[in-house]
Symmetry: C2
Subunit: 410 residues, 2 copies
Amino acid sequence: MSSSSIAALDAADPLASYRDRFQLPEGVIYLDGNSLGALPRQTADRVQAVMQHEWGTGLIRSWNSADWIGAPQRVGGKIARLVGARPHEIVVADSTSVNLSKLIMAVLTARPDRTVVLSEPGNFPTDLYMVESALATLGGARQLQLAPRDTLAEQITDNTALVLLTHVHYKTADVYDMAAITAAAHAKGALVLWDLSHSVGAVPLALNDCGADLAVGCGYKFLNGGPGAPAFLFVAERHHATLVSPLGGWMGHARPFAFVDHYEPATGISRFLCGTPPILAVAALESGVDLHLEVDMQVVLQKSRALAQLFMDQVAVRCAPYGVSLVGPPPGAPRGSHVSFRHAEGYAIMQALIARGVIGDFRAPDIMRFGLTPLYLRFTDVVQAVDVLEDVLRTESWRAPEYQVRQAVT
Amino acid sequence: MSSSSIAALDAADPLASYRDRFQLPEGVIYLDGNSLGALPRQTADRVQAVMQHEWGTGLIRSWNSADWIGAPQRVGGKIARLVGARPHEIVVADSTSVNLSKLIMAVLTARPDRTVVLSEPGNFPTDLYMVESALATLGGARQLQLAPRDTLAEQITDNTALVLLTHVHYKTADVYDMAAITAAAHAKGALVLWDLSHSVGAVPLALNDCGADLAVGCGYKFLNGGPGAPAFLFVAERHHATLVSPLGGWMGHARPFAFVDHYEPATGISRFLCGTPPILAVAALESGVDLHLEVDMQVVLQKSRALAQLFMDQVAVRCAPYGVSLVGPPPGAPRGSHVSFRHAEGYAIMQALIARGVIGDFRAPDIMRFGLTPLYLRFTDVVQAVDVLEDVLRTESWRAPEYQVRQAVT
């Protein structure tokens, strides 16, 4: 594409004004918002206000006066609008991993007659780990069964307690058909737990319309909630009475400030809270969520698809000769909002890109992953990123010894 | 005491200069640092820097360049210096409640031959709730046994898997003899899990010297880590190999960035991590911990005892005639750093105090609780607080209807 046609895409972008809502460093093309979303300008102000006014001045009074105590439900209710759920079906709490465990153990203990948790090999590791931990903790004859996605639906039986899937795959951006899988599971009496970490804020979701049972999601990726932001969990209202958290802490109690010795779970979604919510972190997450509530997720999706199409086209033409091949959905197919390519030297190539200000990430063993965040990425950024990638490949600058050194976090 | 002798106490206070290190609101005497510690001035700057520079500019690179990935162990190592543990025996993670569950379930699954968890009635509710949840989740013949503290040691048997106690009682400030209880438990082959939430930053601790096995603690009380700050957990090195977390998330994996399907716990304390650490909240906690590392906990203890003595003496003389009676350790006895009094109208009296800027809290059914934080409280503050308390009692201003209205958080 000519530079003028790229510029025309940016000029016509209905989301173009949102780029200024983020604080982005000079000289960087940031293609890792799928791992850590960029800082919304309003978030720095918001967190500062929570620290200075609510914590510093309000002190303990802010649990009531600033409604800190209602934050998990309030922010959960806002996220519900992004994912097609009802506000009383989501709370913000803990980490994605901890929330996975709550729901996995809750289902397994509620359904002792079924012994299988079904997932896919190569699911995001912590999803599988939390199942393994739950099974080791609960004991008995239960097992984790892994089936490739093309045969997964057929593997659901009347012995399947839970199907645990990541809606958008963290490496490939492959997308499950939520409605179809959910229907297949329900036909066998199984429940489905969706990990929305790479979906929420990236693609439109319709949990209720799909008949979804359970979900968890991450606050620090496409929601721009800050590093290690609190996560959320969704439990469809019809399951509120029958599922009980294995982590029944005081914030999930029916009357937390009665200070009684015996646990009695709250009646609604609040029973899935555990300890005291981390207010500074929840405030940062709420700010990121508020920003997303200003935009139409269908518009976000259209731009995401257009950015991905441009990226895939440019790489196919300019970088394929150097051994770079697309991973995941082909152009035109449904996908998440990141694009991944395979190259045997992917780690070193990514380090060389980062050194030149094009920031994506690497996923073992050979995946270069690029997040396409419609709120703060321009079409020109995509083309410039491919300019740098092509140059790194052509000059083989990735062969420099410093790019071979493994970092703690890849 | 005369006002000049009170002023002399403040003039001689070796910790007097630390008050300026905190941002305290005008017109407030803050006696609730045991529930939510005040804001250290350096914390606002520190969190702002993490947001602007590490998140905003560093973005994903900060996991390595700002050592976000090492934060749970780094801050844990600092807390270890405050509690007499070795740096590799503590990590910062999750909430106190979640950490309780990790350790309770880890012990119960590692020791299937023992069926009893022993605690005391009136322990902090979430401690008991996490045991109840763990027992309901694990099933089997296990049970929670509650014994009053004066006979508790005798109730430890060779069927006791775990003794779970809060070192400083949240209502009364009663203190357990950690070395004695630990020895009594070890004599029967039982382990002890200490909740240090009302101890850490308030009284000197010597976990290793006491032979402690396991502990958890809260970041938002005497450590001034911010509302809902992350918690920490301690596992004595000798238990690292045998205890496995029921929440085995990717951050507790031996190789988190290998992204393999199968869980393999890290070899040391890191196996008790679960999800991605909340960096903004950990930064605020680290700042509060850093402040405490500047002071000698023995000096903190001496001032805490002196503040408590003054408070108890003043209340005994001036408020006892109105039906206010001391709860917990008598003057001169070992205690935590808060003082509690009983009054049938304690709730309304506390609301009247708060309305006049003397902020303590209420704990059902009739306890008025006052935290004495040596780093930012003066002896004159204590006397002035009792001035207000005496006035509220004498004038019965607590009878005003607005002080009867129950808040969400008490």
